[in-house]
């Protein structure tokens, strides 16, 4: 007889683990299934040539000081019955948005960002303040909301297109599944999480948060199975009845919660069915990771994150070249307010990439292409930060192909499908979605996504 659970969760990323904690805490019999050999999904970690690496996470957004009672991070910790110390978030030092002819700095103190805008764009500051009021009044967590163009709303308040693009740049880079524009609610979530609340990172990186979640989940009686990919979701009369694993095992469940992505999940229901309503996204990235023989600060680089665009118009879309060198994100995990230095210096540079090029590249050209584009990305980024190339002692590169391999996201898309399934529902009564395709963004957003959907449908 097949094993049976109250809820089976597909995917041991931030959202699946958080949902699992909620369900296990309330004594639900719950099992998380992960196809990969390790936890994390889009935000994971690995070890290569005796060094630890993070993938996904540059920074945790929604930073809050210890003891903060409001905001998404506090809400999350309360819901998971975790303490602030469990995530050990250290605040960023300072980040920058660099465009031709203008630079804006920001920290975790929002007033500093307002002053930056007042001084760089004095004509726009009144409009910006009104936009901030509009953002504060918007209920972005309404699960039944309608989609509105963020560019349209923002341009009602800000007339200078350069400032509009400078505001959109970090928000899109860190969470937009849609090219060129965002849904206004997504814009609000990202604006608050990045500009109001800001960045933090645990000294030990993303592994600390993931390991805390797993330990907590297991201590509450939850089951976690790695190397357990779901091949098929079986159904009967509009209800999911069981999942079939890659190795042929069948697991029955009253409810199924999937963080695998909307299109990816629908394929599990019917692999040969008609074309899906849910289109997978195609916004993906290449990331260059350099290990340095010194701290970036010793080379004069103290910014935590630099968002840059070499063109006044910021182009956030799938490029028609392998990597879009016109813009990027430069992250140094060293530049957070730690009490001691990290083991080695790191510079991570992330740029938009064309998933089709990387997916279709023959294996014998893949390694050389990674090397070539890594060099190109660094060449372009060093126009914005000190040239660190003579200090590089090790390099790793990930591409859309790497992302697809480890997350199962078609196209290696990072922020999921352009169309979100905010209420988490699917064509099957007892199959629900959480994670990137449900639509709360960032690390904290992903965890809240799992919690929200679990609370709404699975704790009854």
């Amino acid at each position: 007889m097949a094993v049976r659970y109250d809820t089976v969760i597909i995917g041991a990323g931030m959202s699946g683990l958080s949902a699992g904690v909620r369900l296990a805490y309330y004594e639900k019999n719950v099992c998380i299934l992960e196809r990969h050999t390790t936890i994390g999904g889009l935000n994971s970690f690995y070890r290569l040539r005796k060094r630890n690496y993070d993938v996904g996470l540059h920074a945790v957004t929604n930073y809050a000081e210890p003891g903060t009672k409001q905001g998404p991070l506090s809400k999350l910790l309360r819901q998971l019955r975790l303490k602030w110390e469990d995530f050990d978030l250290r605040p960023q030092l300072q980040s920058s948005i660099v465009f031709p002819g203008a630079t804006l700095h920001f920290t975790n103190q929002f007033n500093y960002f307002v002053e930056q805008i007042a001084s760089a764009f004095p004509q726009q500051i009144d409009g910006f303040r009104r936009l901030v009021t509009r953002i504060a009044e918007h209920d972005a967590l309404d699960l039944e909301r309608q989609s509105v163009s963020a560019r349209q709303v923002v341009s009602e308040y800000i007339r200078d297109p350069l400032l509009v693009d400078m505001l959109f740049c970090p928000l899109m880079f860190y969470g937009s599944a849609t090219p060129r524009d965002m849904d206004f609610s997504q814009f609000v979530i990202m604006f608050k999480s990045i500009f109001h609340e800001g960045f933090g990172r645990p000294f030990e990186g993303i592994r600390l948060i993931l390991k805390r979640l797993v330990k907590h989940f297991k201590s509450l009686g939850g089951h976690l199975k790695l190397r357990a990919g779901v091949q098929e979701i079986r159904q009967s009369n509009g209800r999911a009845t069981s999942v079939l694993l890659d190795d042929g095992t069948e697991i029955e469940a009253d409810n199924i919660l999937s963080s695998a992505g909307a299109a990816e999940t629908l394929r599990m229901i019917d692999p040969n069915g008609p074309p899906m309503k849910a289109e997978p996204g195609d916004i993906s990235f290449v990331e260059s990771i350099s290990v340095l023989d010194c701290e970036p600060a010793q080379l004069g680089h103290r910014d935590t994150i630099v968002f840059y665009s070499d063109t006044k118009d910021f182009h956030y879309e799938r490029p028609d070249v392998p990597v879009d060198l016109r813009s990027g994100i430069i992250c140094s995990p060293n530049n957070f307010d730690y009490s001691q230095p990290l083991e080695d210096g790191r510079i991570r540079i992330t740029a938009l990439a064309d998933p089709h090029y990387w997916m279709n590249l023959p294996e014998d050209q893949y390694v050389a292409a990674k090397q070539h584009w890594n060099d190109e990305i660094i060449r372009c980024a060093t126009q914005h930060i000190p040239d660190f190339r003579s200090h590089v002692i090790d390099t790793d590169v990930f591409t859309p192909r790497t992302i697809r391999r480890f997350t199962g996201h078609l196209n290696g898309c990072v922020y999921g499908a352009p169309q979100k399934f905010v209420n988490g529902q699917t064509p099957l009564d007892n199959l629900f979605l959480c994670g990137t395709d449900q639509g709360f963004l960032g690390i904290v957003g992903a965890m809240l996504s799992g919690i929200t959907i679990a609370n709404r449908y699975l704790l009854k």
Binding site: K69, R78, Q79
Partner: protein, 87 residues
Amino acid sequence: MTSDQIRQVILDILGRIAPDEDLTDLDDARPFREQMELDSMDFLDIVMELRKMYRIQIPEEDYSNLNTMGGTVQYLLPRLKDVPVGA
């Protein structure tokens, strides 16, 4: 359980849901939400914790009885009077 014991159970639950709140001066007659940061997600947790601890089902239409400590104790007293502490 007596009223005092039920009050203590609720305080323990609130302490778990909102560990950063100081509950020593909680006014039993005033709504929880006026005295601490408690959103609808947290509120649902009070109901869920009671269900987990005492197997008591509180229907949604009764939630309004749980806005204050006084109201909560009064609502729970007949339902928990035969239940021992720490059940």
